[in-house]
């Protein structure tokens, strides 16, 4: 993975940078000892590592602004970091960059149930946003699998999704306002406690910009009252393709479950060992969840089961208790971790039109055999967001490269059938060089023009999202 060469002249000014940062924030908020910066050398894409020049952990918007202003004046690249759970290398530093972590910004600033929002500092974890309002029966809808650890700052940067976004949308659909600090230290307020931000939709632009446009320090998020109840049904099939066809039929029939999740045999086996959720052993499993009162759930599930029966399921079983439902979801959300315990893997994130599921699942099976690498599938089927896990052996020379090649082929297939490279994990460094398969040069130029406006010196997370060859001229012009 190519990254821009660190600039020796920046590294040479480390002492001066530390001195200036100490003037605007407490000493313990500036981490420069190489033994302590090591925790910031990678995120959840652990194949790539690099220690940053230093890390700062500001405790207020003012400190974020001061730190960015100083780095801007000294021409130092800044890599914003939420909780470091990015699977795409979004928080991977370079040796001449400062990691700006928002971990100390974790307060709830305001909760308002009448108007259904919560205002938080963005270092707060996704799950603890719900934690702050669940006593009153409310929740924050986007629920990425890493929700126990991942920060709202990272959710906004990557426009994170989750299992339940078929009904509730992703981060961008639940974000009402932000306080965002630009690279030069300017503090901006966009949107607020009302719907649809004023003027151009900068809120929509910021969400998913991978920390390249600004550092969001505070966010106003929409909260919803929890449904009266929810119940998943497990539907097992003897082939991936049939399961895929069933998903499309459920959606066409006019019922919109809150989630439709898919797991194939390798994932079912790995997660069952781990979570003991009582998954049936079969080739392909759908977890379909609906919400409402008991009677409403019965009515929706009856319809879904009627559709499923047309596809000859080998298993059809509703959850019988809240505990069982919790286990079913625990199994699904720990699928990546469970797979990781038995194998090295690379997780893809391409999205395809739902009606293409049977075709794409068949092609992935064929490609897996051609490359001689196993592929496990666990993903959000309802919205076509696939997560093929390519299994490889990190200790076997050439296996990582082979795995990356297969990954690229699968993602190209997603684009070919009308889909995209990444549905919720982001581009980061991982899919950076595949961007030209989805976008023409003018399409990428238009996106980079946005960065020119927000960060004219290209200092914020500069080597991400765009192929280095495409962004060279922008970064050079800014230098």
């Amino acid at each position: 993975m190519e990254m821009p060469t660190p600039k020796p002249e920046i590294i040479a000014r480390k002492a001066e940078l530390i001195k200036r940062l100490h003037e605007v924030m407490p000493k313990d908020a500036v981490i420069s000892d190489p033994s302590e910066t090591r925790v910031y050398e990678c995120d959840a894409l652990t194949a790539y590592k690099c220690a940053p020049l230093l890390a700062v952990l500001p405790s207020s918007t003012k400190e974020v602004s001061d730190a960015l202003r100083i780095c801007h004046e000294m021409g130092v690249p800044v890599v914003p970091r939420g909780s470091g759970t990015s699977l795409a290398g979004g928080a991977l530093p370079t040796a001449d960059s400062v990691i700006l972590g928002v971990a100390r910004l974790s307060d709830v600033l305001e909760t308002d149930y009448d108007n259904r929002f919560i205002k938080v500092q963005t270092g707060r974890t996704n799950l603890s946003v719900t934690g702050a309002v669940e006593e009153n029966g409310f929740f924050y809808a986007p629920d990425p699998s890493s929700q126990l650890a991942c920060a709202i700052a990272g959710n906004i940067a990557m426009n994170s999704g989750g299992a339940h976004c078929l009904k509730y949308g992703v981060t961008t659909n639940n974000l009402m306002g932000v306080t965002m600090v630009l690279m030069d230290g300017t503090v901006t307020e966009i949107g607020g406690t009302f719907l649809d931000a004023e003027g151009l939709d900068l809120l929509g632009l910021i969400c998913g910009s991978e920390g390249q446009l600004g550092v969001v320090t505070e966010a106003t998020l929409r909260i919803l009252h929890k449904p009266e109840g929810a119940r998943p049904v497990l539907i097992g099939f003897d082939s991936n393709e049939v399961a895929g066809a069933c998903v499309s039929d459920i959606i066409k029939a006019g019922v919109l479950p809150v989630a439709i999740e898919f797991m194939d045999r390798p994932c079912i086996e790995a997660t069952e060992d781990f979570a003991k959720a009582g998954y049936p052993m079969c080739e392909a499993l759908l977890i379909v969840e609906v919400e409402g009162s008991d009677a409403e759930i019965d009515e929706q599930l009856a319809l879904i089961e009627e559709i499923a029966r047309r596809h000859n399921p080998v298993e059809l079983r509703q959850s019988r208790s809240a505990e069982e439902s919790a286990k079913i979801w625990l199994g699904r959300k720990s699928a990546f971790g469970a797979m990781g315990q038995i194998n090295d893997y690379m997780c893809l994130d391409g999205t395809i039109p739902v009606s293409e599921l049977p075709h794409v699942l068949r092609r992935i099976g064929e490609m897996s055999r051609e490359f001689g690498l196993d592929v496990a599938n666990v993903f959000h089927a309802g919205d076509g967001n696939m997560h093929p896990l390519i299994l490889f052996d990190a200790n076997k020379p050439g296996d990582l490269e082979l795995c990356e090649d297969l990954g690229a082929e699968i993602l190209k297939l997603c684009v070919e059938v009308g889909g995209c490279l990444t549905g919720e994990h982001g581009v980061g460094i991982e899919k950076r060089d595949l961007m030209t398969h989805q976008y023409a040069p003018a399409d990428l130029e238009a996106q980079m023009a946005v960065k020119d406006v927000f960060d004219a010196k290209w200092l914020l997370n500069p080597a991400k999202v765009f192929p280095l060859l495409s962004s060279d001229s922008h970064r050079d012009a800014a230098a």
Binding site: G199, L200, G204, H225, I251, G254, P353, A446, Q447, V450
Partner: protein, 382 residues
């Protein structure tokens, strides 16, 4: 009027333009500062290019009539969940509303409170920027974080960043039944409190409006529920219990009457054909009654649980841009002049930092400032 029949022709026209262009879909929504220049219409770029009900997606060229899309969706039991407003009645325009116009103005209706705005259902766009370059962003899948989200940026940019040529949309199944809970006689304050309680319940309210004057002159408050018939009945019952302290609600389930009731709100029928400026205010719902009370002389009704205020300010009422901007500035939110002559600008004043970003974006996307220049000019800050 220029009416290119292909995207390439449109791109050529923009590239070769030497003077400002007025970008138009069906020409039914003349909102913002009037701009000079030759009209560039997308009306001949028309037609549904792809409709995949099993993937809940539809792709249409920008000039496609909204009605054509709605007919196609209806045949498969689906719909545009964001319920776009038809501005013709309010603005006294003729012509055919297009999907490009809906996207360019981010036009949403009552269901915005539950399902989201037009921008939330836009999956991808193709557009021609101010240099005449054809650009695509997003795609036709429901989840997509591949690069920056220029789709949202284009939504509601009123043709000032580019001319939309194609839109991909997420569509949703139509519910089998609709019920509207109605109660008369509530004050604005009480009504918004009731609506907040309904929206903060688990019962999935998809519309929440309050009219100071209903059809028989008395205030009426409306709560919409959609879904299976038995579910609508159940939720109406539960909500009725939870809102019992406001009085007894009646439940209307006649499909034609419920549809007409919400079209009345969506299309701002109460202010159609009446004199005065019409403003659209977005505020925090609980602030809304106070904002309206401070603007006495104007007539108002509320959508989005109170968060959307439609305001009719007749001449001589003493309610004007200045007083409206001041009232909104006090609580936070934004106000747009939808009908009337903007003396300065129709749009919400911006902070200097945000204005600088928006100006920077316009200069990048339209360096010669030829696409609807000045249309989104902001009003004067209070």
């Amino acid at each position: 009027m220029l009416t290119p029949k292909t995207e390439d022709d449109l791109a050529r026209i923009v590239a070769e333009a030497e003077a400002p262009l007025r970008i138009q879909g069906g020409g039914t929504r003349p909102i913002g500062m009037p701009t000079n220049g030759t009209v560039l219409s997308t009306s001949a770029l028309s037609g549904i290019e792809l409709y995949d009900p099993g993937s809940l997606t539809l792709v249409a060229r920008a000039g496609t009539p909204v009605a054509e899309i709605e007919t196609a969706l209806d045949a498969e039991g689906q719909r545009l969940a964001f319920e776009p407003m038809d501005h013709r009645g309010l603005l006294g325009t003729t012509g055919t509303p297009t999907i490009g116009g809906v996207a360019a103005a981010n036009v949403s209706g009552p269901r915005r409170i539950q399902s989201g705005a037009a921008r939330d259902f836009m999956l991808g766009v193709r557009f021609v920027d101010g240099r005449g370059q054809i650009i695509k962003n997003g795609g036709r899948v429901m989840k997509n974080v591949t690069g920056y989200d220029l789709v949202k940026l284009m939504a509601g940019s009123y043709g000032t960043l580019g001319v939309l040529t194609e839109i991909s949309l997420k569509v949703l199944p139509k519910p089998r039944a609709t019920g509207v809970m109605l109660i008369e006689g509530l004050s604005d304050d009480r009504a918004v409190t009731a609506l907040s309680r309904a929206l903060g319940s688990p019962f999935e309210v998809s519309g929440a409006a309050h009219l100071q004057k209903g059809q028989d002159g008395a205030p009426v408050t409306m709560i919409r529920l959609e879904g299976f018939e038995s579910s609508v009945a159940y939720r109406a019952g539960e909500l009725g219990k939870s809102l019992a302290d406001f009085g007894e609600f009646t439940l209307e389930t006649d499909p034609e009457r419920t549809a007409a009731g919400w079209a009345h709100i969506r299309d701002v029928v109460p202010f159609q054909g009446r004199d005065g400026d019409v403003w659209r205010l977005s505020v925090k719902p609980s602030d809304a009654p106070g904002v309206v009370a401070s603007l006495s002389g104007a007539e108002a009704f509320y959508d989005w649980g109170g968060g959307l205020i439609w305001l009719l300010a007749p001449e001589g009422s003493g309610v004007n841009a200045r007083s409206i901007r001041a009232a909104v500035a006090k609580v936070g939110g934004h106000a747009t002049l939808i009908r009337g002559t903007p003396s300065q600008g129709a749009f919400q004043p911006l902070s200097p930092a945000v204005a600088a970003l928006q100006d920077g974006l316009r200069r990048k996307f339209d360096p010669r400032q030829i696409l609807n220049p000045g249309l989104m000019t902001e009003g004067q800050a209070a």
